[in-house]
């Protein structure tokens, strides 16, 4: 009797796993279908259609530098420079070695600057460690750390758990563990820096011009005006308002919809 119920439980699990696999495959099909639809619309000059398809994918929280890049191109063709810059920034953040994204970002910024240029006086340069962390792709940092970390523990386990290692392999294992441990520590620090940066998010101004208020309400006075494409730090949130900080320390409040989070 017990045996029969055990088989039934296994059967149920197997069916569930199969259903999950099938659902995953169906979702992947839908993703690719929307991706192709967006590309097709773009190549036929239907930039609104392309944006709609790419945004549909973006809402699924997919992380893809290709998606952000194409979305940026579609926004650019629509003349929506703020969102184009935001998308290229996202693509470059996911893959800092993406030359195409960096090139398009420069082009979009150049044109946005010709419309309106925000000259930030007294802006501080980002600290060195932030520039180092941001210069590497998150994926590269993650995989390097994971590889070094696991290899370190594998070697360390071999060293520690082995009962009577002879002198030569022991020295070799010790040296390997030291090198791998140092590499894991270094990449771990980079990854911790990245996690810290995630906690202090930044964003890009989306509309052509946005009035920055002294408080989280339209009735507050306007402190200053910002224009599309400017990067700002996001400090605080009050309902649908965000407190932002410029590189020179200037602060104010804008509506959440006017900022694209990076």
């Amino acid at each position: 009797m017990k045996r029969a119920s055990g088989w039934r439980a296994w059967f149920r699990r197997a069916v569930l796993a199969l259903a999950l696999l099938q659902a995953g495959a169906a979702r992947a099909d839908r993703t690719d279908e929307a991706w192709r639809r967006g590309n097709d619309a773009y190549l036929h000059g239907d930039y609104a259609g392309a944006v709609a398809a790419y945004e549909e994918l973006d809402r699924q929280a997919l992380v893809s530098s290709d998606l952000y890049f194409n979305l940026g191109d579609a926004y650019y063709r629509q003349g929506n420079l703020g969102r184009a810059i935001w998308s290229f920034e996202r693509a470059a953040a996911v893959d800092p070695d993406d030359d195409d994204a960096r090139y398009n970002l420069t082009q979009a910024r150049k044109i946005a600057d010709r419309r309106a240029h925000d000259k930030i006086e007294g802006a501080d340069r980002e600290p060195f460690w932030m520039r180092v962390v941001a210069s590497l792709a998150p994926a590269t940092e993650t995989w390097l750390f994971t590889a070094f970390y696991l290899a370190f523990f594998a070697v360390f386990a071999a060293l520690w758990l082995r009962r009577r290692p002879t002198a030569q392999p022991r020295a070799l294992l010790g040296a390997s563990a030291s090198i791998l441990g140092a590499a894991a520590l270094l990449t771990g620090v980079l990854l911790a820096g990245r996690a810290y940066l995630d906690r202090v998010p930044s964003g890009v101004i989306l509309p052509d011009a946005v009035a920055v208020k002294e408080g989280a309400d339209t009735n507050y006075r306007t402190s200053f005006e910002l224009h599309a494409g400017l990067r700002v730090r996001l400090l605080d949130r009050d309902q649908d308002w965000l407190r932002i900080r410029l590189p020179n320390g200037l602060e104010g409040w804008i509506r959440e919809q006017d900022v694209g989070r990076l």
């Binding site: 690719d32 003349g79 006086e121 998150p138 993650t142 758990l161 011009a209 408080g215 006075r221 407190r243």
Partner: protein, 630 residues
């Protein structure tokens, strides 16, 4: 609209009225405002930062000073400065309490740039409030422009103009909507002022129903104040009124005919000691009607747009005169003047052959003042696709000027832009629908400029899983499983070693148990007189003990083989001899019980039992080598 404070602006001769108006009418939501005495300071300069909350008796606690961002606090308050105003009158007593924290701050020597102070936090009747952020620029420089960071609370109210007498001025308070004209052209500005006339002190004002201005485009020229309302003295029909301008609107008729401005309803009241409204009064404006006259047909220029009513000038400019192929040029059209600028239709950008155009960016800046005026800016971003000279013709704007009751046309200057670096040589292009004047036949240089790099049209979407893996739960597994595995492995190894030790001990315990059982069985055989079984038991127990020590069976071995084995495993010769002798004695006892000597069989068995016990102890103690090393 609620009015927190009625502030008089009349001279001291109206002391009674000033006393009347200097008090707070109603404490609508408590204001928590931060201010600085100046916005630009030099390093080392001491300046004042003050944050104030005004309440009408609410509990104030949990004040947290703002983050001063590295500024030196020269002087900090130990607690708030508290001031209470109490007014007594026919309507009761009203108490207003202000709490302010006064700081003296200074910028450090090396500190420069803009510093954002704030917000400060406070709890008023359990509700968290935060003050506005105040920006201070540290460094030499001029004062910031209007609307720049750091400006304090609301702007000063505009001076009150003397309004014409109302149609229904009576003895009591009233409100009135007064247009500056009752007949206007479609699109012409009509300024309407909504005013409050008070015959006695009032503590609260509230708008019940706003006026509807259907058929008009409405622009606030003096929006409703949220904080303060200024009162002035006016004599109407021989009676003194305190007059407050509530708000002003510029209305632009959108269609001809009689257009109505519906009445606005409001309520005024006095407040008693407990803050309850007493002596409420409903006020309502008289309906206002504006006659909108259609624009004259005579003299209407071609291309005139009916929204262009006012007085305007137009100008066009480019941000550069020479540009390379692929670069962006900004063509700006400015329309300045008086009128409904937001609705003014700018002339369309003509078709630009060889140029790529983007949707324009339109901004409208309205200047402060009762007459709506300012500038509308249309910025086109255009990109040349080939080299040559482009002439942008004049942009023309036809408008109707209500002041002169005539049409006029304003024109911009034509513009010339040289495009270099592409094909076309000296080719000249005239923008517009007309024929293009082209010239020159130089060598064609096909410049392929790069705008942006094309999309990635792969069949499937690549995902960057690693970009977010470090924020996922599986990554926590990667992080914690290896050290846990290591600790677990170490633990298992220790347990296994311990178990190995335990098995040796257990083996000895089992042997001792077996010895006890066998010797007990032998004693039972002895007591029953079963001699043969007794010796079999003794023989077996000795052999089992040997087998346990040697970790190999010894049951089938002959005596000489057993002796050799014992000697080979390091048992001393005497002990080996004892073992063999005892086993032979057992054999003898089993097979020839009658010939084992002259002693009685029971005593023989007792002696054998005693010898076997001693032998077992000796076997257990003697050191033996392992079979492999033997």
């Amino acid at each position: 609209m609620n009015v927190p404070r009625l502030k008089t602006t009349l001279p001291a001769t109206l002391a009674a009225l000033m006393a009347l108006s200097a008090r707070r009418v109603h404490a609508e939501p408590p204001a928590f405002l931060a201010e600085v005495d100046r916005n630009v300071v030099s390093p080392g300069d001491v300046f004042v930062y003050e944050v104030t909350v005004n309440t009408s008796g609410e509990r104030v606690d949990n004040y947290h000073a703002p983050d001063f961002k590295g500024l030196t606090v020269v002087n900090a308050p130990r607690g708030p400065n508290q001031s209470t105003q109490m007014s007594m009158g026919a309507g009761g007593t009203f108490i207003q309490t202000s709490y302010s924290w006064h700081y003296e701050l200074a910028a450090a020597a090396g500190q420069r740039g803009v510093i954002a102070i704030g917000p400060a936090h406070i709890r008023v009747d359990g509700r968290e409030m935060r003050s506005n952020v105040v920006n201070v620029r540290v460094g030499a420089g001029a004062a910031p422009p209007a609307g720049a960071p750091g400006s304090g609370a609301g702007a000063a109210p505009t001076p009150q103009e003397e309004a014409p007498p109302p149609a229904s001025a009576g003895d009591s308070s009233f409100i009135r909507a007064a247009p500056d004209k009752t007949k206007a052209y479609v699109g012409e500005q009509v300024t309407v002022t909504w005013s409050l006339y008070l015959t006695q002190r009032q503590d609260k004002y509230e708008t019940i129903t706003e006026s509807r201005t259907d058929g008009f485009w409405s622009e606030d020229v003096s929006p409703p104040s949220r904080n303060q309302l200024s009162l002035t003295q006016e004599i109407l029909g021989g009676r003194a009124y305190q007059v407050a301008t509530l708000f002003k609107r510029a209305l632009f008729p959108l269609q001809p005919g009689k257009l109505a401005i519906s009445p606005m309803e409001s309520e005024i009241a006095q407040v008693d000691f407990f803050g309850s409204k007493v002596r409420r009064q409903r006020l309502k404006t008289e309906p206002v009607e504006i006659e909108a006259v259609p624009l004259p047909k005579a003299g209407q220029p071609d291309g005139f747009e009916s929204t262009n009513v006012g007085k305007f000038t137009i100008a066009a400019r480019t941000d550069r005169a020479t540009i390379a192929v692929g670069e962006a040029l900004t063509l700006t059209i400015d329309i300045a003047g008086q009128g409904n600028l937001r609705n003014v239709r700018a002339p369309a950008l003509p078709r630009l052959d060889g140029w790529k155009t983007y949707e324009p960016k339109i901004t409208v800046n309205i200047d402060p003042g009762e007459t709506v005026s300012g500038k509308k800016t249309i910025e086109y971003l255009i990109l040349p696709e080939r080299a040559g000279t482009t002439m942008f013709p004049s942009f023309e704007l036809a408008y109707f000027d209500p002041a002169t009751k005539s049409y006029a046309v304003t024109k911009s200057d034509p513009l010339r832009v040289e495009v270099t670096g592409g094909s076309g040589g000296d080719k000249a292009v005239v923008a517009g629908p007309g024929p293009h004047a082209t010239g020159g036949a130089g060598p064609v240089e096909n410049v392929i400029s790069t705008e942006i790099r094309p999309i990635r049209a792969r069949a499937t979407l690549n995902r960057d899983l690693g970009a977010t893996f470090y924020r996922s739960r599986p990554f926590l597994g990667v992080l914690f499983l290896p050290p846990l595995g290591l600790v677990l492995g170490r633990f298992v190894a220790r347990v296994r070693a311990r178990l190995a030790q335990d098995s040796q001990r257990n083996r000895r315990r089992r042997v001792r148990q077996m010895v006890r059982q066998r010797l007990g069985a032998a004693e039972a055989h002895r007591d029953s007189g079963r001699r043969s079984e007794f010796y079999i038991e003794i023989d077996r127990v000795v052999r089992d003990v040997l087998a346990a020590r040697l970790r190999r069976p010894v049951a089938g071995l002959r005596m000489d083989e057993l002796r050799d084995l014992l000697l080979a495993r390091g048992m001393p010769a005497d002990e080996a001899r004892r073992v063999i002798a005892e086993l032979e004695s057992c054999d003898l006892g089993r097979f020839a019980p009658a010939e084992t000597g002259g002693t009685a069989p029971r005593e023989q068995m007792n002696a054998a039992l005693e010898r076997a016990g001693e032998l077992i102890v000796a076997i257990d103690k003697v050191p033996l080598r392992e079979e492999a090393s033997a």
